[in-house]
Symmetry: C2
Subunit: 318 residues, 2 copies
C-alpha cells in the first residue's frame, strides 16, 4: 500500500542550475516543466527567488531570479495540478520583492539556511506565509551540525512558525542510512506534533542519494526532492527516475521522464558534468563541502584522485 | 568499532570480464591484483575456473579459464596476505580439471548456482573442499526465488556441506533495503548456527549496490563483493572505493584504489561501457535479467528508453 501523503518535488532546474549558472535554454526548462507535470510530480522547483540586484545578469540566467513574467511564460495559461516552487537564500531576497501569492505564479517558496541562521529563516518563512505561500525550511549541511543546536532549531521552528515541511539536507552527500534514520526520527519528534512534515534532500556523492531517500521514506518523511538523471552540482542528487520506479502511487508515471532523459539529457551531459566522479566521492567520504572537488575538476589535475585525497587528509590534520 | 570478521572480495576481473570476455591486457590485470593486495583486500577473484574445452579461446580471454600457469605468473614469487579466488559455474568445469589446492595458486573457489541447482552446487563444493580449497556458494537471482525453495536450499547447505559463506546475490540489481534485510536475516538463521557466514553480491541497476552492501553489513553479513569503479556487466557492482571509504578497519587503504582509478580505469571506460545507464535501471525496476538491456545497448535503439520500458511492460502482461 502506498502512502498518499508522500510528495515528490523535482528540483532539476534549481539544483542543476548550480552547475551552469542556470544557462539552460527556454525549451529545455519548458520540457522539464512539462515532463514533471505529465509524470504526476507534486512540485517543480524552477529556480531561486532573488532580488534583481543580487546577482549579475551577465553571469546567471533568469532562473536565479524567478521573475514573475518568466514564471508566467513558463507555465502558460492553464497549469495542471503541479505546484511551482522557488528557493530563497537568506540575504538574497528583499522582502518587498516578494509579491502576494495571489499575484504570483509560485505556490511555494522554500527557505534554505544553516542551523545558525534559523532565526532569519523563521522570520523569512513568517513573511512568506503571511503573503499566502506554502513554505518549507531546508536546513543545509546537517551532517556537520551539532546536536544541541539542531534540537533547539527544530524546537524553535515548531513553536514559532507554520511551515509545511522541514528538510534533512545532506549537502555533502556524506550520510549513511543510520544517520538518515537518526535525523528523520529526530525531526519527526520535534515537528510532527506541530503538523509539520519531514523532507529529505540527498546528494549522491557516495551513490546513496536514492538509498537515503528510501530510508527517509521508510522512517516517515513525506517530502522527497529529486532531479531528472540525478542532475545537480558535483555528484548530483537522488535521480527522479529511480524514485518514480520505487513509489507505488499510481498517479506517478515514469514514461515522460524516460522520454526527456533520451531527448534532452543525453545532449546536456555532453555539455556539463555531474554524477559519479571520484573527487566528489572523496569529499563525501570526508564529510566535506564539495567546493574543493569542484575546483579540482576545473583544473588540469582533475583526475589526480590519490593526490587530491591525500591533500585533503593533510588539511584535516591541521 | 569495526568488525574484524568482515572480508572484502574484489571481483573486478571476474565480473568486469563479463563485459569484454576477459579481454583485458596482462598489465591491467596485474595492476588490479597489485592494487587490491596493497589496499588490504582479503580476496581477489581473478576469473572463472572452467575446463579448457568449454569455451573458445578465440572468444574469451585467459581469465575465463584460470589455468595454473597464468595464475602463477600473475601472483609472482611472493604473494602477500591476499587470497586468490576463482568462480566456478556448474557444468563448466570437469572435476578432474581442478588440481589439489596445494598445487594451485587459488585459495578459494566460489560456486555460482541458481536455487534449483543446489544439489549440483553442494556436490561441487564437497569436491572442492575435499581438494583443500575454501569455498562459497553464490545463489544467483534470489529476487525471483520462491521462499520455500530457498529455505530448503539453505537448510540443505547447512546440513550437507562445510562452506565458508553463502551469498545473497542480487543478480538483477532490483532489491531494496527491506529485501536485503529479510534475506540476510533468513540466511543467517539457517547458516550461522552451522558456522557458515553470509555474503552479499549487489548489482547497481538502481544505484543501490553500495547501499545494499551496507545494509547487509548492518544485518551481519561478513563477506562483501565489490569491484573497482563498480565495473561489471550492465549497471555494474558495488564500487570498491565506496566500500573502503565506509569500512573502519585500519588494514584497508583506499589510496591504491584511487591510483588505479586514475591510471587505468579512465582509459578502460572509453573502451567498454558499464554503470548508470537507463535501460539497466529499467530492468532493475522490473526485476528482470539485464539481457534485454544488454541487447538494446548493442542496437541502434540503445537510447530509446521510453519505448524499451513500454515493450517490457507489454511483455510482462502476456
Amino acid at each position: 500500500m502506498y502512502r498518499p501523503e508522500i510528495k515528490v518535488l523535482d528540483c532539476t532546474i534549481r539544483d542543476g542550475g548550480l552547475i551552469n549558472n542556470w544557462q539552460f535554454t527556454d525549451q529545455f526548462v519548458q520540457n522539464v516543466f512539462t515532463a514533471c507535470e505529465v509524470s504526476g510530480i507534486d512540485y517543480v522547483e524552477i529556480g531561486y527567488k532573488s532580488s534583481a540586484g543580487m546577482f549579475s545578469k551577465d553571469v546567471v540566467g533568469k532562473w536565479k531570479f524567478c521573475h514573475e513574467e518568466d514564471l508566467k511564460k513558463l507555465i502558460g495559461k492553464k497549469k495542471g495540478k503541479i505546484k511551482l516552487s522557488a528557493m530563497a537564500d537568506i540575504g538574497r531576497i528583499n522582502y518587498e520583492d516578494i509579491p502576494q501569492a495571489k499575484d504570483s505564479a509560485l505556490d511555494m517558496i522554500r527557505v534554505a539556511c544553516y542551523v545558525k541562521e534559523i532565526d532569519k529563516a523563521i522570520d523569512l518563512v513568517k513573511h512568506i506565509t503571511d503573503k499566502g505561500y506554502e513554505t518549507t525550511i531546508n536546513i543545509m549541511a546537517v551532517s556537520q551540525a551539532k546536536d544541541p543546536e539542531l534540537n533547539e532549531a527544530l524546537q524553535q521552528i515548531g513553536e514559532e512558525c507554520k511551515t509545511k515541511a522541514v528538510y534533512v539536507v545532506d549537502s555533502f552527500g556524506s550520510m549513511y542510512s543510520e544517520q538518515i534514520h537518526y535525523l528523520v526520527d529526530k525531526y519527526k519528534k520535534y515537528l510532527n506534533p506541530k503538523g509539520i512534515e519531514v523532507g529529505i534532500h540527498a546528494h549522491n556523492n557516495l551513490q546513496l542519494g536514492f538509498a537515503n531517500t528510501i530510508e527517509a521514506i521508510i522512517k516517515g518523511a513525506n517530502f522527497m526532492d529529486a532531479t531528472i538523471n540525478g542532475i545537480g552540482r558535483g555528484a548530483g542528487n537522488c535521480p527522479l527516475e529511480l524514485l518514480l520506479g520505487f513509489l507505488k502511487n499510481p498517479k506517478f508515471n515514469i514514461v515522460p521522464i524516460l522520454k526527456i532523459l533520451q531527448e534532452d539529457f543525453l545532449e546536456l551531459r555532453k555539455e556539463i558534468e555531474w554524477g559519479y566522479i571520484i573527487p566528489y566521492v572523496i569529499t563525501g567520504i570526508l564529510n566535506e563541502h564539495p567546493r574543493s572537488a569542484i575546483k579540482l575538476r576545473e583544473s588540469a589535475d582533475k583526475d589526480k584522485y590519490a593526490e587530491f585525497y591525500q591533500s585533503l587528509i593533510e588539511d584535516i590534520k591541521v
